[in-house]
Symmetry: C4
Subunit: 284 residues, 4 copies
Amino acid sequence: MEKINKNILNQVITLRNPVSYKGNYGKILIIAGSTHFGGAAILCSSAAVASGAGLVTVATVPEKFTAINTRIPEAMTIDYQNKNDLLEAIQNNTVIAIGPGLGISSVAKGLVKVVLKEATKNQTVIIDASALTLIAEEKIPLTTNAKIIMTPHQGEWERLSTLKIHEQNELNNIDELHKLNPKAALVLKKHHSEIYYQGKVLQITAGNAGMATGGMGDTLTGIMAGFIGQFGFSIETISAALLIHSYIADKLNKKHYVILPSLLIEKLPKYMASFSYENGHYLS
Amino acid sequence: MEKINKNILNQVITLRNPVSYKGNYGKILIIAGSTHFGGAAILCSSAAVASGAGLVTVATVPEKFTAINTRIPEAMTIDYQNKNDLLEAIQNNTVIAIGPGLGISSVAKGLVKVVLKEATKNQTVIIDASALTLIAEEKIPLTTNAKIIMTPHQGEWERLSTLKIHEQNELNNIDELHKLNPKAALVLKKHHSEIYYQGKVLQITAGNAGMATGGMGDTLTGIMAGFIGQFGFSIETISAALLIHSYIADKLNKKHYVILPSLLIEKLPKYMASFSYENGHYLS
Amino acid sequence: MEKINKNILNQVITLRNPVSYKGNYGKILIIAGSTHFGGAAILCSSAAVASGAGLVTVATVPEKFTAINTRIPEAMTIDYQNKNDLLEAIQNNTVIAIGPGLGISSVAKGLVKVVLKEATKNQTVIIDASALTLIAEEKIPLTTNAKIIMTPHQGEWERLSTLKIHEQNELNNIDELHKLNPKAALVLKKHHSEIYYQGKVLQITAGNAGMATGGMGDTLTGIMAGFIGQFGFSIETISAALLIHSYIADKLNKKHYVILPSLLIEKLPKYMASFSYENGHYLS
Amino acid sequence: MEKINKNILNQVITLRNPVSYKGNYGKILIIAGSTHFGGAAILCSSAAVASGAGLVTVATVPEKFTAINTRIPEAMTIDYQNKNDLLEAIQNNTVIAIGPGLGISSVAKGLVKVVLKEATKNQTVIIDASALTLIAEEKIPLTTNAKIIMTPHQGEWERLSTLKIHEQNELNNIDELHKLNPKAALVLKKHHSEIYYQGKVLQITAGNAGMATGGMGDTLTGIMAGFIGQFGFSIETISAALLIHSYIADKLNKKHYVILPSLLIEKLPKYMASFSYENGHYLS
């Protein structure tokens, strides 16, 4: 299993073209949150904004709009129960992340289905958390025209793949991913998380147990969405998103027993700058 | 095209008279925000407050009052759907900014019309975002007794002027602005933004691609409102507001890959102090 | 007119007795805020909390509870429209501040009247902002058993005293205060604010024009309430509260063009410590 | 009475196993908050999150969800008035803290009873604030299968034990605790707080009068819950939670006249790290 080198961050996080606009950095739709899980939508969309996404729209229940406006004034909101608004948003965005805090209601199930159905081949759909649980438990076929990235932790991957955790080795994971959708990318979150894509397997060596806290996965999903929106879908972009999440956490862990996701998010713009500048400056 | 020199900041951001009161620093009305775009109202009015405006009132939908109170306790709120409250606010404020996150509903259209109709010659109206779109699409005549500043980005200017982006050169812009309203000032947001006013054209050389993120325009509108409220309507004030926005962003960009508008806003009081103090101290 | 010396801060801000409890530091009731003026309640009660008040209860409209909980989880809330809750709160608190953002509705008028009527001689009532306007305009007699502190700015004092601003000199102010209520203390907010109490007149020389911004008066009221709650009613306590507000603002003004009230509030615990420690340490 | 040595912090706050997951660090249910006391739920659950709890769910009234989402996106929320949701949450969590800001309504009374009845021997129930008052005043028998920690201040202990404050000495406290529930642990909050458990009595010498402010007790309860969730129920864990709360407050008190609970909470991850690292580093 190939280890991901830190150089991937310098390679992916390129300096921005001075003549560019927010439209160049991705339009991200985050379908997340429900009455009991409002924080997941906040963390996921904050991470997308802080990672440099051009425009971020959060599709959630209206009762969460106030918290989202307060925490992330940079983001827009829509009600995912309004079908017209949702369909329009699916069409207008380049990256769609679905799942954090969504819950497993019939509304949530409908959202997963409509995203898989409506997303087109130029779009990327990131499937996380409740969306993965719904696909596993409701046997929703993982067929879509869009590019797919799944980001399960080991328990979610067990439900999706039917592989027990002790059976989740490289070969089995490749096989089961192939059965689910041979074109999908899999980010398997664990101690030293792994990426599976088209038979290739990569692994990070960063990460620490201070990350073992609620909301850390939602944060990764937001970074992943922001990175795909800016740097395009590729195994390199997926690797960089996965790595920077753990890389910042490792830096913070030197002085923090637990890494609060909101702190990690706050640090994103600075760490991203540090990697982009190793490629040279564009500031005159 | 004349470049705007950084000295304009020292010139415009004058030391305050020790014997002065909040009434001396402008009464600002921000007409902004709607169900799906609450954050724009927050960023715009935060920027007005942080830039030193004496009093800031946000006219928005009541469902956004909680987020505004939480983020900007320094601001007051009214419901823009309450006609009496709105008319009173239009009368009582010296600067009115309209558009950020307003949307293009019939309510929003009515707001643009009433502001243009009711504002008087001693007031300044700053027209941004959705308000510009409405003027273009609904063919609302740009006639008003107030002084006008429009702050479109290139796409919004295309809709207003019917000039394609590649046609947006100095002469064409002058011509089209003259047709829309010969007394209006135009702030054209782009790489190295430009100001058009009474045949004069100025340009900043500050700004960077880390500013290409949602909410950055709303922030400029708030600064513009705060500056006009404190320093009066003039091409110099407009230049200083435009420049300080990009100047702070350039400083932040040295260590931030993307500039979050809320961070830029937080830095306003310090950067403004640094320019005012070059003119001498009034602290004993 | 006697100038207030900075030593008053060392004298008033005493080290706390190690064996003491929150009940020793005052129970503060802040009656503030209304639909359009939610921020005033937040700033006033934040300032009371940060200045060291033992317990702070905010009486306001329920629609503001969320913003208050979010910004000041240390405070409790009640609905001032619930007469039983209000009367109980008036009885149970040692210091009552009324007015910031209250507005001039008939509800607000009723609140002012009930506080004046119900407060007892061991309590202090601080009257500010809308409460002062109501007393002036509705000719509410300023009679109460409680100790009173009024904190008008010059315009509010004009309405209360009928003295035009240019007539507001030492002798006239003493006379008019005597007519309103000979036992009341008056804090007249202006360039170099003044205190009038029982014929004595004091003045601070601190303060700066960067304080000329919305919410700065609400902040002073909160500090005043917190100080009276902890250090008892006296002209020394009033002086110290008035001075520390401007003292911190002067420190901040060295690096901030405008002083945001929320920043000043955040700095209170540190500046208070610096003065208390000049009297010695009690930490082993 | 044995003094608790600072070494207990190094002993309890162990380095985390690199191969571990949020499920290893406790599932915490905080039953707290009501219309008038929303902040207590925020402070208690923030403290649990910041102290490293794996997963935190706040059971409260739905009107507080927005403030909780905004302040602590890392936490989940349920409505404690929904009996099914509540029973499920009681079953699924390992540590249950009940009381901060709960009030003494009949709903609150029902919550205390159901927790005592439903909690099982592998769970820990922390009883604080309003829950203690209810047990005292409503004579709710303190019988349960769960492990119990009570965290009264002296006034609450008076109501529970019927011991006047001057009668609250070591022997009397042991006796009365034994009568209430011989297996319960008692954390008696006072100047130099004490722990009583199975006849053993321990005392901290940390703590200061700057902690005498609203919300400080709610914060301790959250830390206690987070510590039990991560480090297991033991007198050592209880001691460490009690001590770190006062230890951080003592550090902050050197520069803060009053210790705001929210500031103390923010510092938890750093102070916990400093103690864990004295045992060695696991970061490569």
